[in-house]
Amino acid sequence: MKFQCLGKQLFNSSANLPRIQLPSPMEAHLWYIIPSEVQSQSLLNQYAEILSPCEKEIVFEMRDEELRKRALLARALVRTTIARYQINSHVSPRSLKFIKNVHGKPEVDWQHCEQWRPLPLHFNISHTSSLIACGVTVDSPIGIDVEKKNRRLKHNVMSFAQRYFSKHEVQVLSAISDPQLQQQEFIKLWTLKEAYVKALGRGFSDAPFKTFTIRIRSANKGSFAGNSNFEASEIVVDSFDDSMDLTSDWKFVLMDLAGSHYAAICTKKDSSIQGIQITPTKLTVWKTIPFVHDECVSGTAAVVIISG
């Protein structure tokens, strides 16, 4: 084992992770890291030390350095994020154990996490080359997706949409004449659809993208809006096969994150709240370099809620 100095040894425990209260049932937390801001080799080593042997093997088998770093940061982000919610404890993020549900969605395996107090939290991660995010909720499944705003498809946007999106979504997209705006709306729709399927947690084939429609509509006017400049706009999902899931159960937040990405979060509504009135998800967002620096960026220019 390498210990450069006594100070560094402390990083491996969770002492350098400020504790935080779990989100309430109507809230969501989002933690994100920008890979290019992590350059220190010793910090990367410390992240590697909190991974499980299995995770390390996967990470170090990647040939490309950037991919390796991304995979490492993603695992370190998940482990450190969950460790923050363990109040009054100094258990190491390394001792967390994960298990996959029957469809492959990772969850915390509380039964096998010794010394951890089980928490009713749900998490989901998403990564791009330039941003990795982890969302956390309590008592509600969560799905998140982040994409670069200026991501270009290799295919033509409308060909792709016709192949994979629903009829209504294709109509909305084709009504946008400016190619750049069309591209942006496409990315927004993609992140929302991804977030929904990930929140469902049953795998892509269980909810093929063509079988549901995401609409961004204005709650004020009660009409459908192609863009989302309305403060009170709402994102809803309709399924053609409603027996699969009650689509009215799900709510969304779509945001412009760090000026460079769109991020979508999908969570389940509180079933005790009936009726059309939507309670917006209270969202708190942190930009983090685990063990080094956390910055709450909600309400700043780094987080611009587009809808939801």
């Binding site: 084992m1 996967i58 170090f60 492959g104 791009t128 290799k154 991804e194 892509f204």
Partner: protein, 137 residues
């Protein structure tokens, strides 16, 4: 003892001595582990296609070409039958675009259930040949 391939150089890490034991079941465990790592929406699962109906090398080559193009991989990067999409850096949107590229190249239609099971180049090639065979039948 670290029995990791020489490909990692910039990340040094102190590894547990028992890590070497995992190498025995490497092939099986890699595809399983990666399926849980990032949970892309186009979820990857262990390959369901067996060696007895492995695809022709030409098909594998065509798939490699499409994957390279989609992921903008440099010419010298290694892409072969066993290459796992996620390990090559494909996210869910890339994987869907790759499937779309395969559909166009081979004039086939891939159902979501089948697409979900594609984890490697070999998986894709095997599925393509199966679909082409079914088309002809």
């Amino acid at each position: 003892m670290a029995s990791i391939t020489g490909s990692f150089t910039s990340l040094s890490c102190s590894l547990m001595p028992n890590q070497a034991v995992n190498r025995v079941s490497k092939l099986g465990s890699v595809s399983l582990s990666i399926s849980g790592k990032s949970f892309p929406s186009l979820r990857v699962q262990p390959a369901r296609f067996h060696a007895s109906c492995a695809a022709k090398p030409e098909t594998v080559d065509k798939v490699c070409k499409i994957v390279r193009k989609q992921l903008a991989l440099p010419d010298e990067s290694k892409v072969a039958g066993h290459s796992n999409f996620a390990s090559l850096g494909a996210d869910s949107l890339d994987t869907v675009e790759i499937v779309m590229g395969l559909e166009e190249e081979f004039s086939i239609s891939v159902e979501e259930e089948s697409a979900q099971n594609i984890a490697t180049v070999q998986d894709a090639a095997d599925l393509i040949e199966k679909l082409i065979e079914n088309k002809g039948a």
